[in-house]
């Protein structure tokens, strides 16, 4: 294939938006489109496209081979697109998607100062400063737009401690030994349909390696932004915490408002060695579609961590407010003895959004513990499902699990569902599951009203109270933002 086959696209802001769309735009404040030239692959998926992506990224041969293998596996899985989730959506036409779109910028900016000002402005508008001086102290950011990472802050300072924090593309070039060792070691390319697709076409993401005994002094974060039209975003994140290390990582994501659905299929792999701890937080705010359910991101994500070593710990915290469709089950494989897995989730669905999300805890080692706290909030015509598996293997003596799944309903046209699965193969296991469903009561709202608080604010207070146990798990810097996000997501949901 001729590598020069790409088109230059220019996307304009605000053109042809109806009044309604503009009204919705004010609700979803990240709905803007930035204007810059992009280097795009032609629509559709084929072996040539996989080669195109790999060539664009100057990848070594072994990486290309890895991708092609994944692509062939995906082709064989054509009938394996999952249908078991409590989600309804028309079939996705995988040939109608652009699999690579990169904002054109000066090749390989040497420092953050060289980042294209338009790209820099895009992130400033999203509240993400790439300027290290202005940045919230204690947070390093990798900024990913469409298919590529445009820059990573605080690299040098982290480097002094031996911490590697860079884009996945860079890691493939600079740290091939680590990538070869760990990539797809937790989520195999054949794991599921979307994981195979991701392996074939993933274009960027973040890589972190925390060396032995190092406690990462700042939050690491990646901000994902979809900008280009008709593209899918397929990022891949890999975090390795070596013995006795600690890292807290946060990802955020937004996308412009469009009538077409866009696909996002990511893979995240976490590896925690002996006595290591990884705390992974997500604030997912992809465009959810408009009030009538038109547009929005289809979010099919595979996230899994392995507590490889003894006394290791992996904790997932997610605040899911965006996307038209959410399909994700951040999981932990508790392999090391005495290891701990946690899953804290708030999933909000409004209007016509659908979410099928939860977790899997696989207890394999002895004395392993897991804790699941899921808070589902449904409003409008939306559907919100918790789906979780607690598996205790034969050798996992004294495994402990506690699960709590609470649902809160706003209005009477939405749905909340809970699908807990428990498989226990060891008699010493103790598995507890609690579930509640409640509605925001007129009495609660009236009580707030009577103190001078209007109904929208009252709903925000009640919802944040409901989700508090999970919100408390978020790093301080993001908890406030996440609270506001919950309130915004539910605006107009109570009459």
């Amino acid at each position: 294939m001729n590598p020069e086959v790409y088109k230059e696209s220019q996307i304009d802001v605000d053109e042809g938006l109806s009044t309604i769309e503009k009204t919705v735009l004010t609700d979803y404040k990240y709905g803007f489109v930035s204007k810059f030239d992009a280097d795009e692959a032609p629509k559709g998926l084929s072996e040539d496209i996989v080669r195109f992506i790999s060539a664009r990224k100057n990848e070594p041969e072994w990486m290309l081979e890895w991708r092609l293998k994944a692509y062939k596996q995906w082709c064989r899985m054509a009938d394996d697109e999952p249908t078991w989730a409590n989600l309804k959506y028309p079939p996705i036409n995988y040939q109608n998607i652009i699999y690579y779109s990169a904002p054109k910028q000066k090749m390989n900016p040497k420092s953050l100062d060289e980042i294209d000002p338009e790209l820099r402005r895009t992130f400033e508008k999203l509240g993400i400063s790439m300027n290290e001086q202005k940045r919230l102290t204690g947070v390093a950011v990798d900024a990913v737009i469409d298919s590529i990472s445009i820059g990573t802050s605080f690299k040098e300072q982290l480097g002094e401690l031996g911490i590697i924090f860079c884009s996945m593309s860079e890691a493939i070039q600079e740290h091939p030994e680590l990538i070869k060792k760990y990539l797809s070691s937790v989520v195999p390319t054949t794991d599921n349909y979307f994981a195979a697709l991701n392996a074939a076409v993933f274009s960027d993401g973040s890589f972190c390696y925390i060396p032995k005994g190092v406690r990462c002094p700042m939050e690491l974060s990646t901000y994902f932004r979809i900008n280009a039209e008709n593209t899918g975003q397929f990022e891949r994140t890999l975090i390795v915490a070596d013995e006795g290390s600690y890292v807290s990582y946060l990802e955020g994501c937004t996308a412009p408002m469009r009538d077409e659905n866009q696909l996002h299929a990511a893979v995240v792999e976490l590896i925690a060695m002996d006595n290591a701890e990884i705390k992974y937080s997500t604030v997912q705010n992809w465009y959810p579609g408009d009030k009538n359910g038109v547009g929005g991101i289809y979010n099919f994500v595979t996230k899994r961590g392995i507590c490889q070593g003894v006394n290791s710990k992996i904790s997932w915290t997610q605040v899911e407010t965006g996307s038209a469709i959410t399909w994700k089950y951040p999981s932990v494989i508790l392999k090391g003895d005495n290891s701990t897995g946690e899953f804290y989730s708030v999933a909000v669905t409004n209007n016509h959004q659908q979410a099928d999300t939860g977790t899997k805890m696989h207890h394999l080692g002895k004395n392993t513990k897991s804790r699941i706290v899921s808070k589902g909030i449904s409003a409008g015509f939306s559907n919100n499902s918790y789906r979780g598996l607690v598996h205790v293997g034969k050798k996992a003596s004294n495994a402990r699990n506690f699960s709590q799944c609470d649902s809160l309903l706003l209005g009477d046209k939405c749905g909340a569902h809970t699908f807990p699965y428990i498989e226990v193969r060891n008699k010493t296991a103790l598995v507890e599951h609690e579930a509640t469903t409640s509605k925001i009561g007129e009495d609660q709202i009236f009580y707030c009203n009577q103190r001078g608080i209007d109904t929208e604010t009252a709903v925000a207070l009640i919802v944040n109270g409901f989700a508090k146990e999970v919100m408390n798990q978020l790093p301080m810097e993001f908890a406030v933002e996440a609270q506001k996000l919950l309130a915004i997501s539910l605006e107009g949901s109570v009459g």
């Binding site: 009495d443 609660q444 009236f446 009580y447 009203n449 009577q450 103190r451 001078g452």
Partner: protein, 254 residues
């Protein structure tokens, strides 16, 4: 301050208030007493603007404004406070955060800037000392797991923070032992001044030993059938509501 004219209201198509007339002036304490089912709580909820209560006629003037035209939150911001008979629980929401939001929403209504954390804390500390309320109560989720006494003290603390013009105490004594009644009443008395007014809604006379009313009204079957001074409350206590019922029934020729 408050002028109720021929107010009729009901719930689910059932008429409960059948023409209430009542005037309350600044500096006054009024008590509304009456047997169960006479419409006491309906009156309190209707004045506060609870949605499920429907106004069927009459008018209510509150500080020169048509109260019935205002949303419940605007009524609150204008200075009408209802201490609930059964304060509502909001799990996970700290009492402090709730009160801070309320104070700042009311300030916003009056075009004032919100209090910052320091300003709010200063105000809260001051009122905590006045009301004898401890920090630990305010750090807990709103009314969740509170005892009956704690709930009512929390109501009066909110009243202290919001400094209303008219406070309606809806059966504030219900479920409280005598010590708790004393504490809550002390709180209310400390907040009284010549510019505000209190409407005490109660079934029993005992609360009125502590919050001494200037006027007592007896509500029966949706109407105020007798008004007097605090001696009327004592008479009710002694003779029970039956004598009122008999008087009314004789008048109506039942």
């Amino acid at each position: 301050m408050l002028n109720i004219r021929n107010l009729q209201a009901g719930i689910e198509g059932r008429k409960i208030l059948k023409g209430i007339n009542l005037e309350i002036k600044a500096g006054e304490v009024h008590a509304i007493m009456g047997p169960n089912g006479s419409g006491k709580s309906t009156l309190a909820s209707t004045l506060a603007g609870k949605k499920s209560y429907e106004v069927l006629g009459g008018s209510v003037d509150f500080l020169g404004k048509d109260l019935l035209e205002l949303s419940p939150e605007a009524r609150a911001a204008e200075g009408l406070f209802l201490a609930f008979q059964y304060p509502i629980e909001i799990p996970g929401l700290s009492t402090t955060n709730f009160i801070k939001t309320a104070v700042n929403e009311v300030r916003k209504y009056h075009g004032k800037d919100p209090l910052d954390a320091v300003g709010f804390l200063r105000m809260m500390k001051e009122k905590m000392a006045l009301m004898n309320i401890e920090q630990s109560l305010l750090s807990r989720p709103l009314n969740e797991g509170f005892s009956g006494g704690e709930k009512k003290r929390n109501e009066i603390f909110q009243m202290a923070m919001l400094e209303p013009k008219l406070a309606i105490l809806d059966e504030t004594d219900s479920g409280l032992d005598i010590d708790a009644i004393r504490i809550v009443s002390n709180g209310v008395n400390k907040l009284r001044n010549k510019d505000n007014a209190v409407l005490v809604v109660t079934h029993y006379q005992r609360l009125l030993d502590y919050i001494v009313p200037d006027f007592v009204h007896v509500l029966y079957n949706g109407r105020i059938v007798k008004s007097g001074t605090k001696e009327l409350a004592l008479e009710l206590e002694e003779r029970g509501y039956d004598f009122i019922k008999n008087e009314v029934n004789v008048e109506e020729g039942v």
